[in-house]
Amino acid sequence: MDGGWTGMYFALGAGFVLGAAMATLLAWRVARTRARRAAAVHAEEAGRLASALESALRESACAQADLDRAQAGWNEEREHWQGAAAAWDAHQQSSALQAQEALRAQAAPALQHIHTQGRSLQELQGIGKTFERWHADMSALVQHNRTMHDKNDEFARIVRQMVIVALNASIEAARAGAQGRGFNVVAGEMRELSARAEALSREYRDSLYANDLIATTTFQDMQAGGKMVVNAAMGLQMTNGRIQAALEAVA
């Protein structure tokens, strides 16, 4: 009985060990299969990457070739434009020289004209001499007016005396009564003439004052106008000087 139980236990142990071995073997086979599949996937991925790399390298080579061609073209263009720029510079220098020559040719007569204008403006400043002459004439005119004032004052004094004399004559005629009637008429006429002469003297004096004012303001207008012209001429002369300097720099 004991030997039967022992054999059974042995058989069960052997079976368990065998099962465990079988299970381990199965697990190892499953793991190996998975590892192979993973290796295949990786190999496939590596192949794709290699293919992509190869393609990229080809494209890079093409791009490099394009870049080289572009570089060569750019170098060619650069040389072309450098040549064109040098030609343009030469042309510009030549044109500038020609323009300068043309400017000089034009500036020379212009400078001559501007010198003539400058001399004329300089001479125009001499208009001051004319004003001095006018001033002398005006002073003479005012002096003449003053003399006329004096004469008119003397005339007014005579007229006032005449009025008094005529009045006295009228009084004497009145005293003489009927005999003095004719004399009274003459005295009356004399009074009237004196009154008219007095009025005329006043008007004449008034005219002389008007003359003084008209002569003075007219002269002052000419004098101020003359200064205005002289100032304008001075301004023009300064401008003329600047133009001369500019033209002389060119010519």
């Binding site: 008034d206 004052y209 003075t216 002052q220 207008d221 205005m228």
Partner: protein
């Protein structure tokens, strides 16, 4: 007050606008202030209807000319003790308190009067320079005061008289006469210096 001259007497169309006349009056007041009152903005300068008879025996006349117009200014004066004394003080001759204004002589007195006229018209000339490029100023001439009424007869379009209180007991009269030959219109609002003084900006000086 409008003191335009010859308006009713002459049938001449107005060439000076009203604001141009007002501007000229303002320039004259400014000129009088600078020449007679030492720039004192508080100085009493009034527009008056006429120059009262007897206040002056003579007048210093100056002209400012430009293409389109001319101005005549007149400073009326008489040889009064007050004016002679003031002129003596101004010219630095005598102390101005002696009889007849110190030792100022006739020529020195006239020189002071002419200098005032020059200063006044110089100021007007500068102010007019804002509107006119070409201007000229005459030298002063002394005329009898009885010439004054003839300013109007001379075809003046604008005539204005002013009274300046130079100092207590001394007042002077002046006249401005303008005639235009072309239509003229401008507006002067006062010199920058005067405006600065009036607004108090230059009080620190």
């Amino acid at each position: 007050m409008t003191a335009t001259a010859g308006k009713s007497r002459f049938a001449i169309p107005r060439l000076l606008s009203q604001r141009a006349c007002d501007s000229l009056d303002g320039m004259m007041v400014s000129g009088l202030r600078q020449s007679l009152a030492g720039g004192d903005v508080g100085a009493a300068i009034d527009v008056v209807d006429t120059v009262p008879p007897g206040v002056a025996t003579h007048m210093a006349v100056l002209s400012i000319a430009s293409f389109p117009f001319r101005l005549n200014t007149a400073l009326h004066f008489a040889r009064t003790d007050a004016l002679l004394a003031w002129a003596a003080e101004r010219s630095g001759i005598g102390d101005g308190i002696g009889e007849g204004g110190g030792s100022i002589n006739e020529q020195q007195f006239i020189d002071v009067i002419c200098e005032i006229g020059n200063l006044c018209c110089g100021s007007i000339n500068r102010d007019l320079g804002e509107f006119q490029s070409f201007l000229g100023l005459s030298t002063p001439q002394i005329l009898d005061a009885r010439c004054l009424p003839h300013f109007v007869r001379d075809g003046a379009e604008h005539l204005r008289h002013f009274r300046v209180q130079v100092r207590p007991g001394l007042a002077l009269h002046a006249s401005l006469c303008a005639r235009a030959y072309l239509p003229l219109d401008f507006h002067w609002s006062g010199s920058p210096v005067q405006a600065a003084v009036e607004s108090g900006e230059m009080e620190m000086f």
